[in-house]
């Protein structure tokens, strides 16, 4: 498996498509246990990212993902802006001047991204945040390396997202709800699931319409 700038663009464009389609759904999840803007935030941010990367020729993955991260930091705000922004920035730092990477390198770079999320948000597994999808998915990619089955990745991301439903939020806005946060899927976990789903689809080599 090889992942290059073209694959990276596919990933981000595909993710943006999902986010635009699911904007209302993500917002409704956030209305239940947050402030109802997660869909708006993600859709606004990735729309800007796609605009930004559309007309630029990127020579390597590092500069590409640096633009993704910076754009998210500058355009999203809220909790998700710094978290996803930091993730892509850390990701890009691992990929400096890399033109293409294999599955092992991809897992390692995503692991750095997860570290960025953790140090920015200080959330742990089980706090009902994006970490609850990122951590198991990154673990899977690290352990499978070149043997990663993209469908298994999709399955796991969805399962871990579903698992946030029964959790009591400890971090982020949903934490104010205490026990009332139980019974609702976490919006950030859901947008993270789309992120990995889009990645897996690109890894599978699915074509897409821009």
């Amino acid at each position: 498996m090889l992942f290059d700038v073209s694959g990276a663009k596919h990933w981000i464009v595909r993710l943006n498509q999902k986010l635009q389609e699911q904007k209302k759904y993500l917002t409704s999840l956030d209305q239940a246990i947050g402030d109802g803007d997660h869909g708006l935030n993600m859709a606004r941010g990735f729309q800007e990212v796609v605009l930004k990367i559309h007309d630029t020729e990127y020579k390597d993955l590092g500069t590409f993902f640096k633009d993704v991260g910076m754009t998210l930091i500058l355009k999203v705000g809220g909790a998700s802006g710094p978290l996803y922004g930091t993730a892509f920035l850390k990701f890009s730092m691992e990929l400096k001047e890399k033109k293409e990477i294999n599955g092992i390198e991809l897992g390692e770079a995503l692991s750095a991204a997860l570290e960025g999320i953790r140090s920015r948000g200080r959330a742990q597994l089980g706090d009902k945040t994006i970490v609850d999808v990122w951590e198991p998915v990154v673990d899977l990619m690290m352990s499978e390396g070149e043997n990663l089955n993209p469908d298994e990745l999709i399955r796991l991301a969805n399962e871990k997202m579903e698992d946030t439903k029964d959790m009591e939020a400890k971090k982020g806005r949903a934490a104010y709800l205490g026990k009332r946060s139980i019974g609702h899927i976490d919006p950030g976990a859901t947008s993270s699931m789309y992120l990995f789903e889009a990645l897996a689809e690109v890894l599978k080599g699915e074509s897409y319409e821009e």
């Binding site: 402030d35 803007d37 930091i73 705000g77 809220g78 710094p82 400890k170 971090k171 104010y176």
Partner: protein, 331 residues
Amino acid sequence: MKKLINDPNQVVMEMLEGMVLAHPGKLKQIPDTTVLVRSEAPVEGKVGLVSGGGSGHEPSHAGFVGKGMLDGAVSGEVFTSPTPDQIFEAIKAVNGGKGVLLIIKNYTGDVMNFEMAAEMAEAEGINVAKVVVNDDVAVEDSLYTSGRRGIAGTVFVHKIAGALAEQGASLEEVEAVANKVIKYVKSMGMALTPCIVPAAGEPGFQLGDEEMEIGMGIHGEPGIEKTKIQVADQVAETLLMKVVDDLQLKESEKVAVMINGLGATPLMELYIVNKKVAEILQEKNVKIHDTFVGEFMTSLEMAGCSISILRLDNQLLELLDASADTLAFKR
């Protein structure tokens, strides 16, 4: 959704333009940002104060920019923390050489974005301190969670830290007094109706005709519980007692009171709430030094109110009484 707006996605920018057009002698906008600063910013030899957060809480925070309070306010999208670059612009614009204090409400998004901005500023050699306001006693105070939200009590932080800064105090002193206010101010709110984020177009939550939400946040985040609607006296007592207990207020202590409207609640109702609040405090022999009734920290057109109590020692009392000249708070 019935709103006096043009494009739901342009409300923040249009609002800021409208503010500067209304008050050109008081406020200026840093070009291409959502930052409003005092027209005389940066004030040399004075600690600069920056606050901000999502929009939709007007007059917070730009309404408190001016002599004796804030130097700059940063506005995010509605109910969404501003981004670090915007906050950084505000820091640069108000830095008069004595450092800048960031007054942050305790929301994950605000904390992270302001932190990133502070890192940027420090990288440029600007001395930055941060305080995080968490006055909302509706939320459990816990080390293992995000902790308590910052709500209307934040305005007292602006007022008192602003007054000390105006006297020429150092960044450490201003930070210390801000932290003292944060320790001494507690608030709690409730809502009768939800509000609609313009870009969402739909209410953030639902309340039945006979329901109200106790412990409401200021972004439409649900509160502690939905209850049957109660009369004003009962609401006042519920909110106030939670605040008073948390503060462990004792006889003959001095306090300042804020009855804050969330947006759609008539002043008439806020004063009716204040009647009960004042009566309870008098019964407890607590001395009310001053009372502020009106809209300070709103949630768009939400109906409801919050009650804040600030314990006053001599320093805080004097700084609270010091003159201030902003759009929404004048003394």
